[in-house]
């Protein structure tokens, strides 16, 4: 019942805050430094992909450590489809129009997710998590070895996005001025990222509210109960992987555009863990929290790097005696995960909820609802009588 109650429309205060944030994001490139715009571009890419992971983990209850694999497919897929044929490096390019390439890359990532679904349909909980880890290693192997497509260890350049003759890249000898502000590559990409993030967010909310979303919730809350209610469990697990990896693919395309040059090393286990960190820090099952978590985890290393001379212990070079920004960032989000889970397993989203009800001066609910259990690791191997999903019929 609480499920139904919690799916009420967002309170108007939340909506106003969301619109204000959106408006701020629209005007931000006019005021921000190029550095911060660049940070934003990477954050948008992370947000899109993290929303995809949250759809899978938070809404459908399927643990996945393979998100970096699907992101890689989006990134390399776009590069392959959009690159002009006959590049100097001898890599294959299909020379498709960039928008078509984006669509194809997203579809390819989705297809990869769907192909994984025979495994996802059979394997559960933590078994699924580790099995999906296998995909990351397999992906790394393919990326390094399939040189004609991926450029091997050294990676390959990403062709710029062009829509109807307008290039989202620096055009030599031409300066685009918008309201007196010069628009370079990062400012243009900011808007690409913003549009993609808004679309991904709408997509997330619609999927969650749809029949498919409810079926995914049912699968998450108890597979047997879902099956009894007539939900095709295997099909909806597959569907969850499909939509999740499509968003991952879109995030991958954005990431590739932001990087300008992609190498296999980027898409390893560490990235998969970072994405898991984003949704845990933000709050599993909360889209708004996911955006915050993605912003935090993706921008932390670069921001620490930028302010390294102002921060104690952090140095710019590894030989400087202190610790480098990348290392400091990993410490930060590692401890952030641990600390948050100690205080509030629901992540930033639950903390914000708690704060709001504190400010309102009254508890929103009689008792704090227990944190949702996104992935039931225990049930996969352990069946106890007291937690049988549905009581035996009379």
């Amino acid at each position: 019942m609480s499920e139904v109650a919690s799916r009420r429309r967002a309170p108007s205060g939340g909506r106003a805050a969301g619109l204000a944030l959106l408006a701020a994001a629209v005007v931000a490139p006019f005021y921000l430094d190029a550095f911060w715009v660049q940070v934003g571009v990477f954050a948008f890419a992370a947000m899109v992909a993290a929303l995809g992971l949250n759809l899978l983990v938070g809404e459908a209850g399927q643990l996945s450590l393979a998100h970096s694999f699907f992101i890689a497919i989006g990134a390399y897929g776009y590069t392959l489809f959009a690159s002009p044929p006959g590049e100097p490096g001898g890599q294959i390019g299909w020379g498709l129009p960039p928008l078509v390439a984006v669509a194809l890359a997203v579809a390819t990532a989705g297809l990869a997710g769907l192909l994984f679904s025979p495994i996802a349909g059979r394997v559960r909980g933590i078994y699924l998590g580790v099995a999906s880890l296998g995909l990351v290693f397999l992906g790394q192997h393919v990326l390094v070895n399939a040189e004609p497509v991926t450029g091997g260890f050294n990676g390959r350049d990403v062709p710029p996005l062009t829509v109807a003759g307008f290039s989202f890249d620096d055009v030599p000898g031409e300066t685009l001025l918008v309201l007196g502000v010069p628009f370079t590559r990062v400012e243009k990409l900011w808007y690409v990222g913003l549009v993609a993030t808004v679309l991904a967010l709408l997509f997330y909310r619609n999927v969650r509210a749809s029949r498919a979303g409810r079926s995914m919730h049912a699968v998450r809350d108890g597979e047997t109960a879902a099956a009894v209610m007539g939900v095709d469990v295997v099909r909806f697990k597959g569907a969850a992987f499909l939509v999740s990896s499509m968003l991952a693919g879109l995030g991958g395309v954005l990431l590739a555009l932001a990087f300008h040059h992609i190498v296999p090393e980027t898409f390893g286990v560490l990235l998969a863990i970072e994405y898991l960190a984003m949704i845990v820090i933000g709050g599993v099952g909360s889209p708004g929290g996911t955006l915050a978590g993605a912003l935090f985890v993706s921008s932390l290393p670069v921001v620490l790097q930028r302010y390294s001379d102002a921060l104690p212990f952090v140095t710019e070079s590894p030989t400087g005696g202190g610790i480098t920004a990348g290392v400091a960032a990993r410490f930060c989000y590692g401890t952030a995960i641990v600390g948050l889970l100690l205080v509030e397993p629901g992540g930033l989203a639950a903390l914000a909820r708690r704060l709001r009800s504190r400010l309102a001066g009254r508890p929103r609910r009689p008792a704090p609802a227990p944190a949702p259990t996104p992935v039931d690791l225990g049930d996969a191997v352990h069946i106890r009588d007291d937690v049988a999903p549905v009581a035996s019929s009379p």
């Binding site: 580790v130 070895n145 990993r330 397993p345």
Partner: protein, 297 residues
């Protein structure tokens, strides 16, 4: 033929090391339902400090014991301060928390290592020995012997000692065990200690010859405990042994015959454990010896 025998021997020895690692992972899960992603992190801490102690002039055995002691203390702190407050609320939250712990531990060790490769200072070095007509590295023989002594000790301990019985009872049904007077908090502490000890012992052999020493690569090797544990069945100690051996053999054989397997690309041996794991999971979704699920409706 001799090559095959050599590879088989190396594979079994490496597999025994993986089995140690997988076993540590399995006992924690079996007794407390916590998936311990910090296992590789514990291994790195223990192996790194053992190598540091031996570089500081301690004898190898003493250095390893000191490394073990340090890691045990760390594991107890993690169990007491981080795992226990959250485990009653949600075992999933704990699993994800251990990822955070692992990130912190691994980052610290990788930072301390830098680009160095730290030899573990074992007495065997790169010397070889003839066993049954084949030449094998002494470290592999030592790994095999130590692994089987430790594994035998563990199985005997869990079968005959009071603590072992308590551990198995709480794995079987923790609520009943608690009602029977088994102290679950103590069981949880014990399994974390066991995991730490097994991880360090395994880590030392993973970093010994033919590997040049402790480096960030060691933790990639430690990650292979996951497929080993999953493959055998996450709640089966015997399965951890079988899974470890299978993964070790698969990896060593692929590496040994990589010339013949070149169509699979360079470095396929690192991927093979995961391929084997996925293949097994497709047929048996809870591993070879994992409890298959029976759901009541």
């Amino acid at each position: 033929m001799e090559k095959l025998l050599q590879l088989l021997f190396s594979g079994v020895a490496l597999g025994a090391v993986y089995a140690l690692l997988a076993l540590g992972f399995v006992v924690v899960f079996k007794a407390t339902q916590v998936v311990n992603f910090a296992h590789a992190g514990l291994l790195m801490v223990g192996t790194y400090s053992a190598a540091r102690f031996s570089a500081a002039g301690q004898r190898f055995a003493v250095a390893v014991l000191l490394g073990i002691a340090l890691t045990v203390v760390l594991a107890l702190v993690i169990e007491r301060a981080l795992v226990r407050p959250v485990v009653r609320r949600s075992v999933v939250a704990v699993a994800i928390m251990t990822i955070g712990v692992d990130v912190v531990l691994q980052t610290e060790i990788t930072r301390r290592l830098g680009i160095d490769i730290l030899p573990v200072g074992d007495p065997w070095q790169s010397s070889t020995v003839e066993v049954l007509g084949i030449t094998v590295p002494q470290t592999r023989v030592a790994a095999l012997v130590v692994a089987f002594v430790v594994l035998g000790g563990f199985f005997a301990w869990s079968r005959f000692s009071d603590w072992g019985v308590a551990m198995r009872a709480s794995a079987e049904d923790h609520r009943t065990a608690e009602l029977m007077g088994v102290r679950l908090g103590r069981v949880s502490a014990i399994v974390w200690v066991i995991a730490a000890v097994l991880a360090v012992v395994a880590g030392v052999f993973l970093a010994a010859f033919p590997s040049p020493g402790v480096s960030p690569t060691t933790s990639a090797a430690a990650l292979r405990a996951f497929p080993a544990a999953i493959l055998g069945g996450l709640d089966s100690t015997g399965g951890a042994l079988v899974g470890g051996l299978l993964i070790g053999l698969a990896e060593t054989l692929t590496q040994g015959y990589q010339d013949q397997l070149s169509f699979l690309g360079q470095g396929f041996a690192a991927v093979v454990p995961y391929v084997v794991m996925v293949a097994v999971l497709l047929v048996r979704p809870t591993g070879l010896f994992g409890t298959t699920e029976a759901t009541r409706v």
